[in-house]
């Protein structure tokens, strides 16, 4: 994994304020452009000026009730998945880590499916789905965290293995439910397995934004410590980093973020994996730049993927998770091999 060679192999090894501003500024401009394009296009052609001026117009209803919340949720979920993915990769010092591999996503999806499936039989509201998903994501995280410890210390490899096993377990429970419900509900369950950004309410956006903001802020605050941890556990400890506390913090912050996002969007794969690696390949592994850059790029990437999902067979739709995997995988391989099989470095 060539962790040691990573820093020196980059053209610009040192992070300066000017470089941060340049990179993040450019990414912010791109994200803004992507958001505008995504808001301007959809299954139905609308007149944006009329939508803004006339609240009684169908254009207004389409923009405000369907398109805008969806684009915003896409940006939010993409930002969360990419930021949390970058932090988790530093935590377990493994380039394959993301919310999916640690079981957080599958737990959230399983929790969200329960009220959706049983609302009709038990008389509980479908609106409980995100809450149930979030609670189960936290419970699962707690278990993975407990079981990932070796002699009282969080062991990255054990954590990854336990996470992968939990991911399989929660996914199996989802498939079990899928086999017990009637045929008309199975497509709804499949949608949670691949991920979908359909029809969020502004309340849901707010509920995801709060843990996302809190978790990201905590991670940015500890970006320097993340650098040391990604490099070597021992040197981080020698330099005065509370390694155990840091690991706990990363795990809690990322779980809260991913749990909130997945309980409204389902298991959208690849974003948490691809985006951080692209940023590392292009701008290096320094978390002070990596985390905000992953946030901006993740948001843009998912909004573009969802735009394709919305337009490809309009007015019918594709699940966005299919698009992220279809576009993301070949593009990632291309970038990885372009400069002659460079190591995937943390």
């Amino acid at each position: 994994m060539a962790i040691s060679g990573a820093l020196s192999s980059h053209r610009e090894a040192y992070l300066t304020a000017a470089r941060m501003v340049r990179v993040l500024g450019a990414l912010a401009v791109v994200l803004l452009a992507v958001l505008l394009v995504a808001i301007a296009h959809g299954a139905v052609r609308i007149d944006l000026l009329r939508a803004l001026r006339d609240p009684a117009s169908p254009d207004h209803a389409i923009l405000m009730a369907a398109r805008l919340p969806r684009v915003l949720m896409g940006a939010l979920v993409g930002a969360v998945l990419a930021t949390a993915g970058a932090a988790l990769q530093a935590l377990v010092r493994n380039p394959l880590a993301e919310g999916g591999t640690l079981g957080i996503s599958a737990a959230a999806a399983f929790g969200a499916i329960l009220p959706l499936v049983f609302s009709y039989r038990l008389g509980i509201s479908e609106a409980l789905a995100p809450g149930a998903g979030f609670v189960l994501a936290l419970l699962s995280t707690l278990l993975v965290y407990r079981l990932g410890q070796v002699r009282g210390r969080l062991d990255p490899l054990s954590l990854l293995l336990v996470g992968v096993i939990f991911n399989t377990f929660w996914s199996a429970l989802i498939l079990l439910i899928n086999n017990l419900v009637d045929l008309y509900q199975t497509r709804g369950i499949m949608a949670w397995l691949v991920g979908s950004l359909e029809a969020p309410s502004y309340t849901e956006i707010g509920l995801v934004a709060m843990p996302a903001a809190a978790g990201s802020a905590w991670l940015y605050w500890h970006a320097r410590d993340l650098n040391l941890l990604a490099l070597s556990e021992d040197s981080a400890r020698d330099l005065g980093v509370d390694v155990e506390g840091l690991r706990r913090g990363i795990f809690v912050a990322t779980s809260v973020m991913i749990g909130a996002a997945v309980s409204v969007s389902g298991m959208i794969g690849f974003v948490g994996l691809i985006v951080p690696h692209l940023i590392r390949l292009r701008w290096g592994p320094d978390h002070r730049l990596l985390l905000p850059a992953a946030m901006l790029s993740g948001a843009g990437f998912l909004v573009v993927a969802d735009l394709i999902a919305r337009l490809a067979i309009a007015p019918a739709e594709l699940p966005v998770g299919v698009i992220t995997a279809l576009c993301g995988a070949p593009f990632f391989i291309y970038l990885l091999r372009r400069d002659g099989a460079r190591d995937v470095a943390l």
Partner: protein, 290 residues
């Protein structure tokens, strides 16, 4: 048991004779035995009971719930994933299921074991009627089957007579909220057409399209038929979000059974759908359906 008894009695006549005798006698006993039918889909189960072959049904699929007496029968998987061991153990004389590309392997497995297999379709009114006729013929209930089809046609004619001269509203029929899955084609699409309505999800080339909400708002259906998963308040608040000032559809729930069950009750389903879309055209009794 018969085979075993045969080989004991005729053992001294030589193995060849014994085998021939055993095979013929057991085959005769098999042919004479009471029919044992396994049904692999809700629609085929309903048809079997409607044509009068119900007493011969020994097992049904996991999804079967109508008529009520099928709830007591053993379950042997679904038409997509039949439990081959359980089915073989029941020694069925006939297995009735649905033709589907997704269950080809399971069907081939059952056929290879020597079971007689009958595959039908339930994705259009014509296919359902054909399935009723064919299942009736295969189980020796031709007249009852013809009567069931005649009854469906009469129910359709009655509904159409009531609707004559009414304008067709734009309608959306959904079976799921997250994602929004609508009725595009299939037998339900045909029922929407017969119920004198314009289905906004028709013509997309999919029987169950996953529909864009933007499209729903732009098409502004006058009536939304919702499968009512969850309580009334959740249903109303879900659609309220998209009515945003202008577009205020009448949202009505439909009973999942019989509406989502293709089979002999499609005439009844049509009457329910038509009454929900055109309540003014139907007797007050139908208003209770909401």
């Amino acid at each position: 048991m018969i085979a075993c008894a045969c080989s004991c009695h005729h053992g001294r006549l030589g193995p060849l004779v014994a085998v021939i005798l055993c095979v013929t006698s057991s085959a005769a006993a098999w042919g004479a035995a009471a029919p044992r039918i396994v049904s692999l889909a809700p629609s085929t189960t309903e048809i079997l009971f409607a044509v009068g072959a119900g007493p011969e049904v020994v097992a049904v699929s996991n999804y079967c719930d109508y008529p009520p007496q099928v709830r007591k029968l053993p379950r042997v998987g679904s038409f997509l994933e039949p439990n081959i061991e359980a089915i073989a153990g029941l020694r069925p004389t006939l297995i009735v299921g649905l033709a589907s590309a997704a269950n080809e392997r399971a069907v081939r497995g059952l056929a290879a074991m020597g079971f007689s297999l009958m595959l039908t379709r339930d994705d259009s009114i014509a296919a359902i009627e054909q399935a009723i006729i064919e299942i009736g013929a295969r189980t020796g209930h031709r007249e009852r089957a013809a009567a069931v089809v005649a009854a469906i046609r009469e129910q359709i004619a009655t509904v159409q007579a009531r609707l004559r001269g009414r304008s067709a509203p734009r309608v959306l029929m959904v079976v799921g909220h997250a994602p929004l899955i609508a009725v595009g084609g299939g037998y339900l699409g045909q029922l929407l057409e017969l119920a004198d309505s314009i289905n906004i999800a028709a013509g997309l080339g999919q029987a169950w399209p996953r529909l864009s909400l933007e499209y729903v708002i732009a098409q502004a259906p006058a009536v939304i038929l919702d499968g009512r998963r969850g309580d009334t308040a959740a249903l109303d608040s879900f659609w309220l979000r998209y009515q945003a000032g202008r577009f205020g559809p009448k949202v009505v729930g439909y009973p999942l059974s019989p509406v989502l069950h293709p089979g002999p009750r499609i005439g009844q389903s049509l009457a329910i759908i038509a009454a929900l879309i055109h309540p003014e055209a139907f007797a007050p009794a139908y208003h209770g359906a909401r």
